[in-house]
Symmetry: C2
Subunit: 212 residues, 2 copies
Protein backbone atom coordinates (compact mmCIF):
# COMPACT_ATOMS: atom_id res chain seq x y z
CA UNK A 1 0.00 0.00 0.00
CA UNK A 2 1.50 3.34 -0.99
CA UNK A 3 0.80 6.07 1.49
CA UNK A 4 2.20 9.47 2.25
CA UNK A 5 5.02 9.47 4.80
CA UNK A 6 3.72 10.73 8.13
CA UNK A 7 6.53 12.25 10.22
CA UNK A 8 4.16 12.61 13.20
CA UNK A 9 3.32 8.90 13.21
CA UNK A 10 5.95 7.93 15.83
CA UNK A 11 4.65 10.42 18.35
CA UNK A 12 1.04 9.57 17.59
CA UNK A 13 1.60 5.87 18.20
CA UNK A 14 3.35 6.54 21.52
CA UNK A 15 0.58 8.91 22.66
CA UNK A 16 -1.95 6.16 22.02
CA UNK A 17 -0.25 3.47 24.04
CA UNK A 18 -3.63 2.37 25.44
CA UNK A 19 -4.26 1.03 21.92
CA UNK A 20 -0.78 0.53 20.47
CA UNK A 21 1.07 -1.84 22.76
CA UNK A 22 4.67 -0.72 23.36
CA UNK A 23 7.30 -3.48 23.61
CA UNK A 24 4.77 -6.18 22.76
CA UNK A 25 7.26 -9.03 23.12
CA UNK A 26 7.05 -8.46 26.87
CA UNK A 27 3.45 -9.65 26.72
CA UNK A 28 4.22 -13.04 25.22
CA UNK A 29 2.16 -15.50 27.26
CA UNK A 30 0.48 -12.62 29.14
CA UNK A 31 -2.02 -11.20 26.67
CA UNK A 32 -4.98 -12.25 28.75
CA UNK A 33 -3.48 -10.32 31.67
CA UNK A 34 -3.21 -7.22 29.51
CA UNK A 35 -6.86 -7.50 28.48
CA UNK A 36 -7.81 -8.36 32.05
CA UNK A 37 -9.94 -11.36 31.12
CA UNK A 38 -9.77 -14.90 29.71
CA UNK A 39 -11.58 -14.34 26.45
CA UNK A 40 -10.32 -16.15 23.34
CA UNK A 41 -7.56 -14.30 21.49
CA UNK A 42 -7.93 -13.54 17.77
CA UNK A 43 -4.96 -12.13 15.85
CA UNK A 44 -4.89 -10.44 12.43
CA UNK A 45 -1.57 -10.36 10.61
CA UNK A 46 -1.34 -7.29 8.38
CA UNK A 47 -4.15 -5.14 9.71
CA UNK A 48 -3.67 -2.22 7.33
CA UNK A 49 -6.03 0.62 8.14
CA UNK A 50 -7.87 -1.45 10.72
CA UNK A 51 -11.39 -1.72 9.34
CA UNK A 52 -11.47 -5.49 9.79
CA UNK A 53 -10.01 -5.71 13.27
CA UNK A 54 -12.14 -2.87 14.69
CA UNK A 55 -15.23 -4.20 12.92
CA UNK A 56 -14.62 -7.67 14.34
CA UNK A 57 -13.97 -6.28 17.83
CA UNK A 58 -17.27 -4.38 17.71
CA UNK A 59 -19.15 -7.44 16.43
CA UNK A 60 -17.53 -9.87 18.89
CA UNK A 61 -17.21 -8.45 22.42
CA UNK A 62 -16.76 -12.06 23.54
CA UNK A 63 -13.25 -12.17 22.01
CA UNK A 64 -10.06 -10.16 22.35
CA UNK A 65 -8.41 -8.92 19.15
CA UNK A 66 -4.85 -8.01 18.27
CA UNK A 67 -3.99 -6.44 14.91
CA UNK A 68 -0.39 -6.46 13.72
CA UNK A 69 0.79 -3.96 11.12
CA UNK A 70 4.36 -3.08 10.25
CA UNK A 71 3.80 0.14 8.31
CA UNK A 72 3.68 3.14 10.65
CA UNK A 73 2.01 5.39 8.09
CA UNK A 74 -0.81 2.88 7.73
CA UNK A 75 -1.32 1.72 11.29
CA UNK A 76 -2.00 5.31 12.44
CA UNK A 77 -5.30 5.14 10.56
CA UNK A 78 -6.14 1.90 12.35
CA UNK A 79 -5.33 3.59 15.66
CA UNK A 80 -7.66 6.47 14.82
CA UNK A 81 -10.44 3.99 14.03
CA UNK A 82 -9.88 2.03 17.24
CA UNK A 83 -9.70 5.23 19.33
CA UNK A 84 -12.94 6.49 17.86
CA UNK A 85 -14.71 3.15 18.37
CA UNK A 86 -13.45 3.10 21.97
CA UNK A 87 -13.45 -0.69 22.20
CA UNK A 88 -11.95 -2.42 25.24
CA UNK A 89 -11.16 -5.63 23.35
CA UNK A 90 -8.74 -4.52 20.64
CA UNK A 91 -5.02 -3.70 20.64
CA UNK A 92 -2.66 -2.93 17.78
CA UNK A 93 0.99 -3.85 17.38
CA UNK A 94 3.36 -1.89 15.17
CA UNK A 95 5.64 -4.87 14.68
CA UNK A 96 7.51 -6.67 11.98
CA UNK A 97 6.40 -10.08 13.11
CA UNK A 98 9.38 -11.96 11.72
CA UNK A 99 8.46 -14.81 14.02
CA UNK A 100 5.11 -14.90 15.81
CA UNK A 101 6.61 -17.16 18.45
CA UNK A 102 8.31 -14.02 19.80
CA UNK A 103 4.90 -12.45 20.42
CA UNK A 104 2.75 -15.37 21.49
CA UNK A 105 3.18 -18.39 23.72
CA UNK A 106 2.24 -21.90 22.63
CA UNK A 107 -1.55 -22.38 22.66
CA UNK A 108 -2.14 -18.69 23.36
CA UNK A 109 -4.03 -17.84 20.16
CA UNK A 110 -7.49 -19.08 19.10
CA UNK A 111 -7.70 -17.70 15.57
CA UNK A 112 -5.35 -16.10 13.06
CA UNK A 113 -6.66 -13.91 10.23
CA UNK A 114 -4.73 -13.30 7.03
CA UNK A 115 -6.54 -10.72 4.94
CA UNK A 116 -5.44 -9.73 1.45
CA UNK A 117 -1.83 -10.53 2.18
CA UNK A 118 0.83 -9.51 -0.31
CA UNK A 119 0.70 -12.19 -3.06
CA UNK A 120 4.44 -12.07 -3.85
CA UNK A 121 3.65 -13.49 -7.31
CA UNK A 122 7.19 -14.40 -8.34
CA UNK A 123 8.26 -17.96 -7.56
CA UNK A 124 11.52 -16.73 -6.09
CA UNK A 125 9.53 -14.83 -3.44
CA UNK A 126 7.44 -17.83 -2.37
CA UNK A 127 9.03 -17.80 1.08
CA UNK A 128 7.64 -14.33 1.75
CA UNK A 129 4.02 -15.36 1.30
CA UNK A 130 2.24 -15.54 4.65
CA UNK A 131 0.88 -18.97 3.70
CA UNK A 132 4.35 -20.44 3.06
CA UNK A 133 5.19 -23.41 5.26
CA UNK A 134 7.66 -21.53 7.49
CA UNK A 135 4.79 -19.22 8.51
CA UNK A 136 2.41 -22.15 8.96
CA UNK A 137 4.92 -23.60 11.45
CA UNK A 138 4.69 -20.39 13.45
CA UNK A 139 0.89 -20.35 13.37
CA UNK A 140 0.78 -23.97 14.46
CA UNK A 141 3.09 -23.21 17.38
CA UNK A 142 0.99 -20.39 18.82
CA UNK A 143 -2.51 -21.67 17.98
CA UNK A 144 -4.56 -23.81 20.31
CA UNK A 145 -5.69 -27.24 19.19
CA UNK A 146 -8.48 -26.71 16.66
CA UNK A 147 -7.38 -23.09 16.32
CA UNK A 148 -8.19 -21.68 12.91
CA UNK A 149 -6.29 -19.87 10.18
CA UNK A 150 -8.89 -17.76 8.35
CA UNK A 151 -7.59 -16.52 5.01
CA UNK A 152 -9.23 -14.03 2.63
CA UNK A 153 -7.88 -12.75 -0.66
CA UNK A 154 -8.98 -11.55 -4.07
CA UNK A 155 -5.82 -12.96 -5.63
CA UNK A 156 -6.63 -16.18 -7.49
CA UNK A 157 -3.04 -17.38 -7.79
CA UNK A 158 -2.30 -16.75 -4.12
CA UNK A 159 -5.47 -18.62 -3.14
CA UNK A 160 -4.59 -21.60 -5.34
CA UNK A 161 -1.09 -21.64 -3.89
CA UNK A 162 -2.33 -21.30 -0.33
CA UNK A 163 -4.91 -24.10 -0.48
CA UNK A 164 -2.20 -26.42 -1.70
CA UNK A 165 0.31 -25.11 0.84
CA UNK A 166 -2.13 -25.63 3.75
CA UNK A 167 -2.89 -29.12 2.48
CA UNK A 168 0.73 -30.17 1.92
CA UNK A 169 1.54 -28.99 5.43
CA UNK A 170 -1.10 -31.36 6.76
CA UNK A 171 -3.75 -28.77 7.58
CA UNK A 172 -7.44 -29.55 7.10
CA UNK A 173 -9.62 -27.25 4.97
CA UNK A 174 -12.72 -26.89 7.10
CA UNK A 175 -14.26 -24.42 4.66
CA UNK A 176 -13.55 -23.12 1.17
CA UNK A 177 -15.51 -20.23 -0.40
CA UNK A 178 -14.80 -19.32 -4.00
CA UNK A 179 -17.06 -16.27 -4.26
CA UNK A 180 -17.65 -15.09 -0.73
CA UNK A 181 -19.83 -12.10 -1.46
CA UNK A 182 -22.48 -14.15 -3.22
CA UNK A 183 -23.09 -15.77 0.16
CA UNK A 184 -24.40 -12.54 1.71
CA UNK A 185 -22.93 -13.59 5.04
CA UNK A 186 -24.06 -10.85 7.47
CA UNK A 187 -21.18 -11.73 9.80
CA UNK A 188 -18.46 -11.21 7.19
CA UNK A 189 -16.52 -8.09 8.23
CA UNK A 190 -14.95 -6.53 5.13
CA UNK A 191 -11.49 -5.05 4.95
CA UNK A 192 -10.84 -1.83 3.01
CA UNK A 193 -9.28 -3.85 0.17
CA UNK A 194 -12.18 -6.27 0.17
CA UNK A 195 -14.71 -3.47 -0.32
CA UNK A 196 -12.67 -1.93 -3.09
CA UNK A 197 -11.92 -5.09 -5.05
CA UNK A 198 -15.36 -6.59 -4.59
CA UNK A 199 -16.99 -3.39 -5.87
CA UNK A 200 -14.84 -3.73 -9.00
CA UNK A 201 -16.32 -7.17 -9.61
CA UNK A 202 -13.44 -9.29 -8.35
CA UNK A 203 -14.26 -12.49 -6.51
CA UNK A 204 -13.31 -12.72 -2.86
CA UNK A 205 -11.96 -16.11 -1.75
CA UNK A 206 -11.97 -17.43 1.83
CA UNK A 207 -10.69 -20.56 3.50
CA UNK A 208 -10.76 -21.76 7.08
CA UNK A 209 -8.05 -24.28 7.92
CA UNK A 210 -7.02 -26.08 11.10
CA UNK A 211 -3.98 -28.08 12.13
CA UNK A 212 -5.96 -31.36 12.34
CA UNK B 1 -27.63 -35.76 -19.33
CA UNK B 2 -30.97 -36.14 -21.12
CA UNK B 3 -30.71 -38.24 -24.23
CA UNK B 4 -33.08 -40.08 -26.48
CA UNK B 5 -33.65 -43.72 -25.54
CA UNK B 6 -31.73 -45.93 -27.94
CA UNK B 7 -33.33 -49.40 -28.19
CA UNK B 8 -30.44 -50.65 -30.34
CA UNK B 9 -27.83 -49.73 -27.69
CA UNK B 10 -27.69 -53.19 -26.09
CA UNK B 11 -26.87 -54.91 -29.35
CA UNK B 12 -24.41 -52.20 -30.35
CA UNK B 13 -22.46 -52.53 -27.11
CA UNK B 14 -22.27 -56.32 -27.47
CA UNK B 15 -21.12 -56.08 -31.09
CA UNK B 16 -18.27 -53.81 -29.99
CA UNK B 17 -16.89 -56.05 -27.29
CA UNK B 18 -13.33 -55.24 -28.40
CA UNK B 19 -14.02 -51.79 -26.90
CA UNK B 20 -16.82 -52.40 -24.38
CA UNK B 21 -15.55 -55.00 -21.93
CA UNK B 22 -18.22 -57.61 -21.14
CA UNK B 23 -18.35 -58.88 -17.53
CA UNK B 24 -15.66 -56.44 -16.42
CA UNK B 25 -15.60 -57.73 -12.83
CA UNK B 26 -13.81 -60.79 -14.21
CA UNK B 27 -10.85 -58.56 -15.03
CA UNK B 28 -10.31 -57.29 -11.50
CA UNK B 29 -6.55 -57.51 -10.95
CA UNK B 30 -6.03 -58.53 -14.58
CA UNK B 31 -6.43 -55.31 -16.56
CA UNK B 32 -2.82 -55.29 -17.66
CA UNK B 33 -3.34 -58.79 -19.07
CA UNK B 34 -6.32 -57.55 -21.07
CA UNK B 35 -4.29 -54.66 -22.51
CA UNK B 36 -1.35 -56.99 -23.03
CA UNK B 37 1.19 -54.68 -21.43
CA UNK B 38 2.28 -53.14 -18.11
CA UNK B 39 1.47 -49.50 -18.83
CA UNK B 40 -0.02 -47.39 -16.04
CA UNK B 41 -3.80 -47.60 -15.78
CA UNK B 42 -5.91 -44.42 -15.84
CA UNK B 43 -9.64 -44.63 -15.10
CA UNK B 44 -12.37 -42.07 -15.75
CA UNK B 45 -15.56 -42.37 -13.74
CA UNK B 46 -18.53 -41.06 -15.67
CA UNK B 47 -17.13 -40.91 -19.19
CA UNK B 48 -20.24 -39.57 -20.87
CA UNK B 49 -19.84 -39.35 -24.63
CA UNK B 50 -16.15 -40.23 -24.38
CA UNK B 51 -14.40 -37.12 -25.71
CA UNK B 52 -12.06 -36.94 -22.70
CA UNK B 53 -11.09 -40.60 -22.49
CA UNK B 54 -10.50 -40.99 -26.23
CA UNK B 55 -8.64 -37.66 -26.36
CA UNK B 56 -6.44 -38.71 -23.46
CA UNK B 57 -5.80 -42.13 -24.99
CA UNK B 58 -4.71 -40.50 -28.25
CA UNK B 59 -2.48 -38.02 -26.40
CA UNK B 60 -0.96 -40.61 -24.07
CA UNK B 61 -0.10 -43.89 -25.81
CA UNK B 62 2.16 -44.60 -22.81
CA UNK B 63 -0.91 -45.22 -20.59
CA UNK B 64 -3.92 -47.50 -20.70
CA UNK B 65 -7.36 -45.92 -20.21
CA UNK B 66 -10.66 -47.24 -18.95
CA UNK B 67 -13.82 -45.15 -19.10
CA UNK B 68 -16.82 -46.11 -16.99
CA UNK B 69 -20.31 -44.93 -17.91
CA UNK B 70 -23.59 -46.25 -16.62
CA UNK B 71 -25.98 -44.78 -19.18
CA UNK B 72 -26.29 -47.04 -22.20
CA UNK B 73 -27.73 -44.32 -24.43
CA UNK B 74 -24.70 -42.14 -23.72
CA UNK B 75 -21.87 -44.67 -23.75
CA UNK B 76 -22.79 -45.72 -27.30
CA UNK B 77 -21.48 -42.35 -28.50
CA UNK B 78 -18.24 -42.94 -26.62
CA UNK B 79 -17.96 -46.37 -28.26
CA UNK B 80 -18.43 -44.78 -31.69
CA UNK B 81 -15.65 -42.28 -30.92
CA UNK B 82 -13.29 -44.99 -29.66
CA UNK B 83 -14.04 -47.25 -32.66
CA UNK B 84 -13.36 -44.42 -35.08
CA UNK B 85 -10.12 -43.44 -33.31
CA UNK B 86 -9.05 -47.11 -33.37
CA UNK B 87 -6.87 -46.78 -30.27
CA UNK B 88 -5.34 -49.90 -28.70
CA UNK B 89 -5.13 -48.34 -25.21
CA UNK B 90 -8.74 -47.55 -24.33
CA UNK B 91 -11.63 -49.67 -23.09
CA UNK B 92 -15.11 -48.70 -21.93
CA UNK B 93 -17.23 -50.24 -19.19
CA UNK B 94 -21.00 -49.94 -19.13
CA UNK B 95 -21.15 -50.39 -15.39
CA UNK B 96 -22.83 -48.95 -12.36
CA UNK B 97 -19.66 -48.81 -10.34
CA UNK B 98 -21.34 -49.05 -6.96
CA UNK B 99 -17.99 -50.07 -5.53
CA UNK B 100 -14.81 -49.73 -7.56
CA UNK B 101 -13.19 -52.43 -5.46
CA UNK B 102 -15.33 -54.88 -7.47
CA UNK B 103 -13.61 -53.76 -10.66
CA UNK B 104 -10.04 -53.10 -9.56
CA UNK B 105 -7.52 -54.76 -7.30
CA UNK B 106 -5.56 -52.89 -4.64
CA UNK B 107 -2.80 -50.77 -6.21
CA UNK B 108 -4.03 -51.54 -9.72
CA UNK B 109 -4.91 -47.96 -10.74
CA UNK B 110 -2.51 -45.03 -11.29
CA UNK B 111 -4.96 -42.16 -11.81
CA UNK B 112 -8.68 -41.58 -11.41
CA UNK B 113 -10.47 -38.82 -13.32
CA UNK B 114 -13.74 -37.30 -12.17
CA UNK B 115 -15.04 -34.93 -14.83
CA UNK B 116 -18.11 -32.76 -14.35
CA UNK B 117 -19.69 -35.23 -11.97
CA UNK B 118 -23.30 -34.74 -10.91
CA UNK B 119 -23.17 -32.03 -8.19
CA UNK B 120 -26.11 -33.41 -6.19
CA UNK B 121 -26.64 -29.95 -4.69
CA UNK B 122 -29.03 -30.91 -1.90
CA UNK B 123 -27.39 -31.66 1.44
CA UNK B 124 -29.46 -34.82 1.81
CA UNK B 125 -27.79 -36.17 -1.35
CA UNK B 126 -24.22 -35.52 -0.17
CA UNK B 127 -23.49 -39.25 -0.07
CA UNK B 128 -24.12 -39.53 -3.81
CA UNK B 129 -21.39 -37.02 -4.74
CA UNK B 130 -18.37 -38.81 -6.22
CA UNK B 131 -16.11 -36.85 -3.88
CA UNK B 132 -17.93 -37.99 -0.72
CA UNK B 133 -15.74 -39.88 1.73
CA UNK B 134 -17.22 -43.33 0.98
CA UNK B 135 -16.06 -42.92 -2.63
CA UNK B 136 -12.67 -41.61 -1.52
CA UNK B 137 -12.26 -44.85 0.46
CA UNK B 138 -12.79 -46.81 -2.73
CA UNK B 139 -10.34 -44.68 -4.71
CA UNK B 140 -7.73 -45.03 -1.99
CA UNK B 141 -8.16 -48.81 -2.02
CA UNK B 142 -7.56 -49.23 -5.74
CA UNK B 143 -4.98 -46.47 -6.34
CA UNK B 144 -1.25 -47.01 -6.09
CA UNK B 145 0.78 -45.00 -3.61
CA UNK B 146 1.00 -41.45 -4.96
CA UNK B 147 -1.85 -42.26 -7.34
CA UNK B 148 -3.88 -39.18 -8.22
CA UNK B 149 -7.53 -38.19 -8.18
CA UNK B 150 -7.91 -35.53 -10.89
CA UNK B 151 -11.18 -33.65 -10.57
CA UNK B 152 -12.68 -31.11 -12.97
CA UNK B 153 -15.96 -29.28 -12.67
CA UNK B 154 -17.66 -26.02 -13.53
CA UNK B 155 -19.80 -26.26 -10.39
CA UNK B 156 -18.48 -23.85 -7.75
CA UNK B 157 -20.36 -25.40 -4.83
CA UNK B 158 -19.28 -28.92 -5.73
CA UNK B 159 -15.67 -27.77 -6.03
CA UNK B 160 -15.78 -26.01 -2.65
CA UNK B 161 -17.30 -29.11 -1.10
CA UNK B 162 -14.83 -31.44 -2.77
CA UNK B 163 -11.68 -29.55 -1.75
CA UNK B 164 -12.85 -29.69 1.83
CA UNK B 165 -13.90 -33.34 1.52
CA UNK B 166 -10.50 -34.36 0.09
CA UNK B 167 -8.76 -32.43 2.86
CA UNK B 168 -10.88 -33.80 5.71
CA UNK B 169 -10.23 -37.30 4.43
CA UNK B 170 -6.50 -36.64 4.74
CA UNK B 171 -5.73 -36.25 1.06
CA UNK B 172 -3.13 -33.73 -0.10
CA UNK B 173 -4.04 -31.10 -2.70
CA UNK B 174 -1.07 -31.23 -5.05
CA UNK B 175 -2.66 -28.68 -7.37
CA UNK B 176 -5.66 -26.35 -7.38
CA UNK B 177 -6.74 -24.37 -10.46
CA UNK B 178 -9.59 -21.88 -10.10
CA UNK B 179 -9.89 -20.84 -13.75
CA UNK B 180 -8.29 -23.60 -15.76
CA UNK B 181 -8.85 -22.20 -19.22
CA UNK B 182 -6.90 -19.01 -18.52
CA UNK B 183 -3.86 -21.28 -18.20
CA UNK B 184 -3.97 -22.28 -21.87
CA UNK B 185 -2.62 -25.69 -20.92
CA UNK B 186 -2.08 -27.43 -24.29
CA UNK B 187 -2.29 -30.83 -22.56
CA UNK B 188 -5.73 -30.24 -21.05
CA UNK B 189 -8.16 -32.56 -22.85
CA UNK B 190 -11.65 -31.06 -22.70
CA UNK B 191 -14.83 -32.98 -22.07
CA UNK B 192 -17.99 -32.16 -24.01
CA UNK B 193 -19.42 -30.39 -20.95
CA UNK B 194 -16.20 -28.49 -20.44
CA UNK B 195 -16.30 -27.06 -23.96
CA UNK B 196 -19.95 -26.09 -23.62
CA UNK B 197 -19.74 -24.45 -20.20
CA UNK B 198 -16.42 -22.75 -20.83
CA UNK B 199 -17.73 -21.24 -24.06
CA UNK B 200 -20.60 -19.78 -22.02
CA UNK B 201 -18.09 -17.99 -19.79
CA UNK B 202 -18.17 -20.35 -16.81
CA UNK B 203 -14.94 -21.01 -14.97
CA UNK B 204 -13.55 -24.52 -15.04
CA UNK B 205 -12.03 -25.73 -11.76
CA UNK B 206 -9.45 -28.50 -11.42
CA UNK B 207 -7.72 -30.17 -8.51
CA UNK B 208 -5.16 -32.95 -8.28
CA UNK B 209 -5.14 -34.78 -4.96
CA UNK B 210 -3.20 -37.74 -3.60
CA UNK B 211 -3.57 -39.98 -0.57
CA UNK B 212 -0.36 -38.66 1.07
Amino acid sequence: MRVRHKPWADDYLKENDHIVVQDPKNYKGKWRELFGNDKPLHVEIGSGKGQFITGMAAQHPEYNFIGIELAKSIIVTAVEKAAEADLPNVRLLNENAADFRELFEENEVDSIYLNFSDPWPKNKHEKRRLTYKSFLEQYEAVLKDNGEVVFKTDNQKLFEYSLSSFSRYGMVLQEVKLDLHTENDPLNVKTEYEEKFSSRGYRIYRSVATFK
